[in-house]
Amino acid sequence: MSGTRATITDLASRDRREALRIAEAILFASAAPVSTEDLARRLPEGSDVAAVLRDLQAAYAGRGVNLVRVAEAWAFRTAEDLAYLLRHEAVETRKLSRAALETLAIIAYHQPVTRAEIEEIRGVSTSKGSVDVLLETGWIRMRGRRRTPGRPVTYGTTVAFLEHFGLPALSDLPGLEELRGAGLLEGHIPVGFRIPVPGDDDALTEEEEPLDEADLLGYGEALDPEPEAD
């Protein structure tokens, strides 16, 4: 085992070795980089601070941690090529809540659609949370504002939505007959019940006007005096 401690313990004199140990401990324990003067003050009298720092830097060169100069001071830092160790990328998979999923589906089929319209279709007031979560998924976007009193924001889906759900285009969303065929709609379907076929045109409809600057900065919904509950 003794052969492996060459770096510091075998160096030069006992005093020099002790100065190195002390410098190492001080630099390690310090919350901020330590200046050469400060180090000199704390090393045993007569120590050659420059030499100590040089030796220490050499001892740590090529190691997982290096002694680096920060402004006029010194500090230990993780070796640059190992910086990736300090980043931890966690991928978290989350499932959408039923309310969010329903809201998403309504936006997909009925776009452009306002929150009030979503609420009318769902029969419950949609929490701002659901819409926010959907905006966060990147699957929906604010399209514009409806040209009606209150100028409510209209929502639509994004290209990421098509990608995630493997849809070539919005017009490929299954219609009434397909939903029935898949057993998703059952029983007597009232006359006049229809499932809209959303257009694939990204351009605003005649009933919509562009978003304001404030909307684009993310303050759009705050202007809507819609109720918030679920």
Partner: protein, 282 residues
């Protein structure tokens, strides 16, 4: 702590007029601590202390405290009682077969054990405190480089989930509609309640249509209002709370409040033919 003499002679005497002190306050942490201090004063290994001598010293302490009218915490008195019992056990010949009760020697052994254990824990605490402690003697990295966690949330939903959610909620809406339609029906109970209220104490004949006029505005509810009101009126007439009159088929139906227990038991409007006429019209 070690070698301390009984402190109350000098220190604990209460100045005149002041309330009595509790010996506890004088630096002893309970009777066991006091016993340990007294035992140490015997200047022998705790394993070889004289329990009897210890009991005497403790009693003397308590006696002295009493003389000085110091208020002793209850713990001290409980210990004193236990020690008195122990002393009697140690001095008297052991009773013939005392059952499960411990002998004087066992009790003394238990006390000696507790004293040794307390002392051992005091020493352990001292040894613990004197270790090289993190942040005082030994240091961790002063400027740790924290691992930055960048959480990347991936939302998960399948097309099937999406379609099922849409279909379920649209289907729910169909069912809801049926509910709403049902609400437009005037129940018999509703009609009865309204008629009872409207007819009230009406002495004169008034046409039914007039009563119902506020409810007949909506063409969708016209039929149900009329049918329920008519049926309710028949029921009320039978109960004698209402009288009905109609001059001929399709003629207006008149109402007035009933005269309970009136001589005329059959209301004028109770003819079967008229009933069916009315229903036909509704």
């Amino acid at each position: 702590m070690t070698g301390r003499d009984l402190p109350f002679e000098e220190d604990a005497r209460p100045p005149a007029g002041e309330p009595a002190l509790i010996v506890d306050v004088e630096g002893f942490e309970g009777p066991l601590d006091l016993l340990l201090t007294l035992a140490r004063n015997q200047k022998v290994d705790l394993a070889r202390i004289s329990i009897l001598a210890l009991v005497e010293q403790y009693m003397a302490f308590v006696e002295e405290a009493r003389k000085l009218r110091l208020e002793l915490a209850a713990d001290y008195l409980v210990m004193a009682a236990w020690l008195a019992f122990l002393k009697s056990r140690l001095l008297l010949p052991p009773p013939e077969k005392a059952g499960d009760e411990p002998s004087g020697e066992e009790m003394a052994g238990m006390l000696a054990f507790r004293l040794r254990r307390l002392e051992a824990m005091r020493e352990a605490a001292a040894r613990l405190v004197n270790r090289d402690r993190l942040g005082r003697d030994v240091f961790a990295r002063g400027a740790p480089e924290p691992v930055a966690v960048s959480a990347d949330v991936r939302w998960q939903a399948s097309l099937y989930d999406l379609l099922a959610a849409y279909a379920t909620q649209r289907q729910r809406q169909m069912v809801t509609r049926v509910h709403v339609a049902r609400r437009t029906v005037w129940s018999l109970a509703d009609a009865r309640e309204i008629l009872t209220r409207l007819v009230g104490r009406l002495a004169d004949w008034v046409p039914l249509e007039e009563f119902l006029s506020p409810y007949l505005a909506d063409p969708q509810t016209l039929a149900t209002v009329r049918a329920s009101a008519f049926t309710a009126s028949l029921e009320l007439a039978r109960e004698g709370r209402l009288e009905l009159r109609q001059s001929g088929a399709f003629a207006p139906l008149y109402l007035r409040s009933g005269t309970p227990r009136a001589a005329d038991p059959v209301g004028e409007g109770r003819g079967n033919g008229k009933d069916s006429d009315k229903e036909g019209k509704a």
